[in-house]
Structures are given as structure tokens and as C-alpha cells.
Amino acid sequence: MENSKKNINILRYQDLFLIFIWKEISVRYNQAVLGIAWAVIQPLSFMLVFTFIFTYVLPIRVSDLPKPVFFYSGLLPWTFFSSSLACAIPSLTNNYNLIRKIYFPKILLPLASIAITLIDLIIASLIFIFLLFFYNISLSGNAFWLAPLFLLLILFTVAFSLFFSALNIYYRDVNLALSTLLRLWFFATPIFYSLDRVPDQYKIIFFLNPLAYIIENMRQCLFTSTPISVNLFLAMLTFGFVAVFLAYKFFEATERKFADVI
């Protein structure tokens, strides 16, 4: 009974979800001359800077791939993850006057933030396809693994977004800590380096970081014929679903108090 009522609610609010996405895009690009090009600028500028640094300043060989392709392939999933968090975590507190006034499924706000970042990712991926053609790189037969790995990326993005957006209602410290945390996390993820270069005794640290697993394996499946470990993937997938489940439960448990606390 309780459950079926909830489902009807979600269905009734599917248009609101679309409206939230459309509203965020309108607000973001309102009076912005470059508009949607901003989706590409962040990963592209980082890629150019890294290519410059590791070609002229610290000339080292990062991998067998051309540097722009290597950097961009790591920056794409990372930008999706970090921008989603940066957008989703303050999404509830930014809409406090709505939350205090009217009932709607609050979960739509962080999810809409992720959906918008997903649109950015799709646009930014066009540059990646261009780079593949430009450097004449053919994808490996393992490339189909990209889809399940991407699912994993979505799961962890949703889990972190739900948990921290709800926590941010109680402690604004979350959002304040976010930019520092994301910067540190960026360096702890093999984006401008490869995990091969990490000494074995430290590798264990990287296995605690789901983003390291995702980005490293995305590169592996796209550019090498080394097979992806199915067992490890299934373990990560289970971990991902458990994380989403726990984050959702936390969100649900705190949702009733949002309006009182926000």
C-alpha cells in the first residue's frame, strides 16, 4: 500500500524531473555567451595543460598512447563524477525555499543534477571521438566493457550524491569541504598517470578508490586487449549497488526532517 502510493508519486512527478533538468540548464546558460561549450571547456583545458606540462616541462612517457588521448580518456569520467557531486551536493540547500514550502520527492533535485552533468559528458565525448580519429587509434575488442564500467560510474556517482547532499542539509561543512576533497581525490585517481607507475606496496590504497578502478579499467578495455577481470567487476558492481542502497536509505530517513533543519 505504502509502496504503491510511492510509485504513483514518482510517476506523477516524472515531468517535474524533466522540468528541473531544463530549469538548471536554462539558469546555467542564461546570459552565458559560450553556452553549452562550457561542457567541453573543463576537460579540454585540463587535457591541454597536462599535455603541455608532460611534453615540455616534465617530459616523461606516461603511456603508449598519445598524451591527449590518454589524459582526455581519464578526464572524461572524472569530470562527470566531480561535476555531478559539485552540482548535486548543494542542490537541496540551493532550493531550500521550495523544500520549506511544498511537497515533492526531494530525490529529484540531486538526480536532476547528475542528469545535467550526463548531458555535458555526452557533449564532451564528441571531442574524444574526434581525438580517436585524429590519432587514428582503433579501439580494442574489449571496448564493449565500457558500458558496464559506465554503469558502475553512475552507481557510485548516485551513491555519493545522495548521501552527501542529504548530509549537507545538516552540516554545510560538507559543501565547504567538497572542493578541497575533490582536488585531493583528483590526484588520488589515475587520471594523468597510469596505475602501472604506482609501486606495488601502495597499490592497495588505490583499490579503496572506486574511481581508480573505473578509470583504469575504462582505459584498459578501450586501448588494450588485456581482458577485464569479471570477478573483480562483479565485486565492484555489488559494492556499487550496496552503496546506492545505503545512500538511498540515508536520504529517505533524513528527508522528513529536511524542511525543519535546512
Partner: protein
Amino acid sequence: MLSSPMIELQHVWKKYSRSKIFHRSLREDIANIFEIRKDKKFLTANEFWALQDITLAAHKGETIGLYGPNGSGKSTILKLIAQVTYPTTGSVKAAGSIAPLLEIGAGFHKDLTGRENVFINGAILGMRINDIKKKMDSVIDFAEVREFIDMPVKNYSSGMYVRLAFSVAIHSQADIYLMDEMIAVGDEAFRKKCTDKIKELKGSQKTIFLVTHNLALMEQLADRIIFLERSQMLNERTITPQPPPLRDPSPSS
């Protein structure tokens, strides 16, 4: 004649915390989140009652006025009905879709145009996009903002703002309307239009909650007025029917 109530509050107590920052201690917060703390009726130093033992019911077609000084709990009752917040103890039941009229700032984004805001506001009130498109002209006409509809609402006057918000809300086809100090903002002509519209909603068997400091207006619109003071219900007054209206006043269903 009266079926089960549309809105029912039973022995509702609502506690708020006075402290600016929520966390007193992390352990207490965690206990609060998962409601481990046992005695809910116990107030800590920083807490106060916003509502104490409120019991009321509203039936189909009824208009109820909530009257009382600032801070007496009127808006808290509306928030409980709208399911924005939940009672500390007691129960709140609603048997229909609810349209709270959004006050200035809520639900509207200042950088977006009036038309865009109608979509946002309508969707928040649970309307489908197609439904909003269909009713757009009617919404604009009722609000009398036709020539400003494609202008960002940050350039609207407060009257235009409220008219648009009111107009969206009454087009949302809800069963229960919550009106918090809305009609006081518009000018004389629009207030007349609003009161006419509220009477029309009453005629179509909608349930309405009205909060205003204008007692004369409330007596004109409400069937019952509930007087609140310092978070408690003082008394309730049934308004004697107005001089016979033109239409047949007996409810059909």
C-alpha cells in the same frame, strides 16, 4: 452528508529547535535522525512548541480560516498539511492532492521568464507538461501579465508576481488549496478577482485553508474560523451563512 474528512489533524504536537546550528552533538543528531530518542514530549533548553495538541478536520467543500497573531502556528499547520514537515507526535492525514500557493521567492527563479516559471511552478504542483501547455493562456490571462510573460520575473512588481503564482496554483486542479497571506498582496481589483475565484472553488467542492490577518475578508470567505494563540487552539467559530447567493447553495455531492 459529510463523508470522511479531506484533512484530519489529530492531537498534533510540533516541536522546533531554536538553535541556529542544528548540531548540538553529533551523537544526539544521529539519535534524532533515526528517532531513537524516546520521550518526544520532552523539551530541551533550545526547543519550543510551535503547535500543541491541535485537532481539526476539514471536509470536502469546506473553507477554513486560521486566525491568530504572528507565531501562533498558522503557517506550521499549513506546512503539516502540505507534508513539508511532519508532526512530532499525533497524526496528519490528507485525502487529496494539495496545492500550496507559493509565496514570493519559493518556486520562482528570478532569472527566468514568467512563462518559464509557470512551467516550473506548475510541475512542482504536480501538473504534467502537456497540461501546463494547454492551460498557459488561461494562466496568463487570469494573472493579467500577458505583455510581461516573456520577461524575467526579477523585473516583475510584487503584485504581478503574486498574481502569477496564484493563477498557476488555481489552475493545478488540486483538491485542497492552502493560501497563506496571498490575497493581501494584490491590489483591490485583483483581490476582488481572487475572492471571486475562491468562492468559485468553494462552489466546486474544493477544500480551502485560508491564512490572513484580514478578519473581515476571512469572515466573508470561510465557513469556519479557527483562532490560534501561542501554538494552541483557542476556539472555533462557525460563520453564519452569507445573504443567499444567486446559485443554489446546497452541495450536489
